[in-house]
Amino acid sequence: MDKVQDNRAWFLIIPVFLIVAFSAVIPLMTVVNYSVQEIFGPGQTFFVGTEWFEAVLTDERLHDALVRQIIYSLAVLAIEIPLGILIALGMPGGRSAKTSLTLVLLALPLLIPFNVVGTIWQIFGRGDIGLLGATFRAIGVDYNYTNNSLDAWLTVLVMDVWHWTSLVALLCYAGLQSIPPAFYQAAKIDGASKWAVFRYIQLPKMRGVLIIAVLLRFMDSFMIYTEPFVLTGGGPGNSTTFLSQYLTQMAVGQFDIGKAAAFSIVYFLIVLLFSFIFYTVITNSGSGEKK
């Protein structure tokens, strides 16, 4: 068969090429470019090689922020995933008013803008006028998120759980709804316990949505910025300064563009690595007890 030589086909991919270039490739390469330069001002740049990367990887404060960040993200996953599954299991099924009401209630926190969530909790936790803070004060618990590191850290964590557990619950609920009723009947006839139904039917059937839930929650919590910024501004001390906030301080506060760019790339690679690990682990563990 004769092949038709017609290079006009290349024109058809130009729109996609342009969009991807402007939205992803060029910004990314700009960052890569910054990361190997010392920048004093417009036009005053010097090539410094891997110096910034070395600086970033040996930065003590950054290490602290990274450890804080990892502990925080793991805590978020450890609380939100089981809690979300439990809520989904307890939700009413079918098409009743009860179901709609539950769904709307669950969706509410998801509809609130991030900075508003921060503000809500800022006021909620205040000892003088906040419901939570005042209640703690009334029962004699010493709680103050503005000068106690642990209190601040826990408040940020609880705030995230409050804000995002609904997402996990809704995803799991969708997964549960897709299980045909015959599975439950079969389990009933088999005399399977509630735990067995969960372990051998519901959990494997939710695997797909759980992968998505874990990845979404991990990536989001690993990049958390707005809520702690509004609530505590990263303090007290550095106790709630997570990676993205440290990065912002570096780039916009200290105008250390080169170092911030190197940091961004390392940050990106860390998120990528963790996501890959989670994905691999969940995908393999769900596919059974193969010997």
Binding site: A182, K188, D190, G191, I201, G286, S287, G288, E289, K290
Partner: protein
């Protein structure tokens, strides 16, 4: 186990899903529930299993009333239309799961799993997950799981309906041997008359939530108690024509007269309805006693190696079956032949008046 249903009925809200019916299934018997979609087969099965509680009547297992008893305390196993297996367990673990729950020891479980898997020909796949099997193999795994449980009552709710034609034939033939152990009472729901005939045993015909007839499969097929029952138990549905019965002959509206020589004598004269299955309406005149019926081709469809001719005859459409693949132009005139020894006579209300006395007919042919 002997399963007895006494006036069992199921009503959901204002809808009567199942009208009161009584049925006795002997221990070790093979029973087919035959009926079209929404006939109440699944409803009846759920009542038998104890998944639902009947709104009226009693369910007895070996004479013991178990009407309100939960499915957990019943001795049942069930196979569904969908392929239901534990998704995260291997085929081996799936089959072993009912035995583990019964607390059998390891060696016995292993022996039973392997024996059952061999019987269902899924031995090579024991280490695989259900999702890695074909549909037919998944259903074999589900059947193995139900069989291995050793329950007194095994319910199969259209187990082959989601399989392709070839696999269905294959598994159907095997199922008959598998269930022939004689200990388990088997109930098998299907929409296909063909399947009921292949599987044999007893049949209970359901239609719109009502039990039409129950008995040995051959008896019900050859002497359907009513037109409705005959319709459910014929594929394609039985041809029906209005006729006048006089002196043991039926006269069709166009004057064609069929002698009822294989039927009982001295039938009551008057208007009646004549039923004849498609395979007894043929294009070839195999014998002189066949009576010609004229019609006009409305449609001719080929199914497998058979041709079904839909023909207009007066106000009714008849379906004739022809061996082999043939084409009949739409609108052309055609003559088909009815076997008068195979026709059924129903009253105008649809009750059976006379069926071909097939046992006597068979004897007469030999003599």
């Amino acid at each position: 186990m002997t399963l007895t249903l006494e006036g069992v009925a199921k009503r959901v809200g204002a809808e009567q899903h199942l009208h009161p019916l009584s049925l006795e299934l002997q221990a070790g018997s093979f029973n087919v529930l035959l009926g079209r979609t929404l006939a109440g087969k699944t409803t009846l099965m759920r009542l038998m299993a104890g998944l639902d509680k009947p709104t009226a009547g009693r369910v007895l297992e070996n004479g013991k009333d178990v009407t309100g008893a939960s499915v957990r305390h019943r001795d049942v196993a069930m196979v569904y239309q969908q392929f239901i297996n534990y998704p995260a367990m291997t085929v081996y673990e799936n089959i072993a799961s009912p035995l583990r729950r019964q607390g059998k020891d390891k060696a016995e479980i292993d022996a039973q799993v392997r024996r059952t898997a061999a019987m269902l020909r899924i031995e090579p796949y024991l280490e695989r997950l259900p999702a890695e099997l074909s549909g037919g193999q998944q259903q074999r795994c589900a059947i193995a799981r139900a069989l291995v449980k050793g329950a007194g009552l095994l319910l199969l709710d259209e187990p082959l309906v989601n399989l392709d034609y070839k696999l269905r034939e294959e598994l159907r033939a095997e199922l008959r041997d598998i269930f022939a152990d004689g200990k388990t009472t088997v109930v098998y729901a299907t929409t296909e008359p063909q399947e009921a005939l292949v599987l044999g045993g007893n049949v209970t015909v359901l239609h719109e939530g009502q039990m039409l007839q129950t008995g040995a499969t051959g008896d019900v097929f050859h002497t359907p108690a009513s037109l409705a029952c005959a319709q459910v138990f014929s594929d394609p549905p039985m041809n029906v024509m209005d006729a006048i019965l006089t002196n043991d002959r039926v006269a069709l509206s166009d004057g064609t007269s069929l002698p009822l020589s294989a039927h009982d004598r001295n039938l009551p004269a008057g208007p009646c309805r004549v039923g004849i299955r498609a395979n007894h309406l043929t294009v070839l005149r195999r014998s002189e006693r066949l009576v010609p019926i004229k019609g006009r081709v409305a449609l001719s469809e080929i199914s497998g190696s058979e041709t079904f001719i839909h023909l207009r005859h007066g106000d009714t459409t008849l379906i004739a079956r022809e061996e082999g693949v043939h084409s009949h132009p739409i609108g052309s005139d055609i003559q088909v032949y009815a076997d008068p020894d195979r026709i059924f006579v129903f009253s105008t209300a649809g009750q059976l008046v006379a069926a071909p006395n097939w046992r006597r007919g068979a004897l007469r042919n030999i003599a």
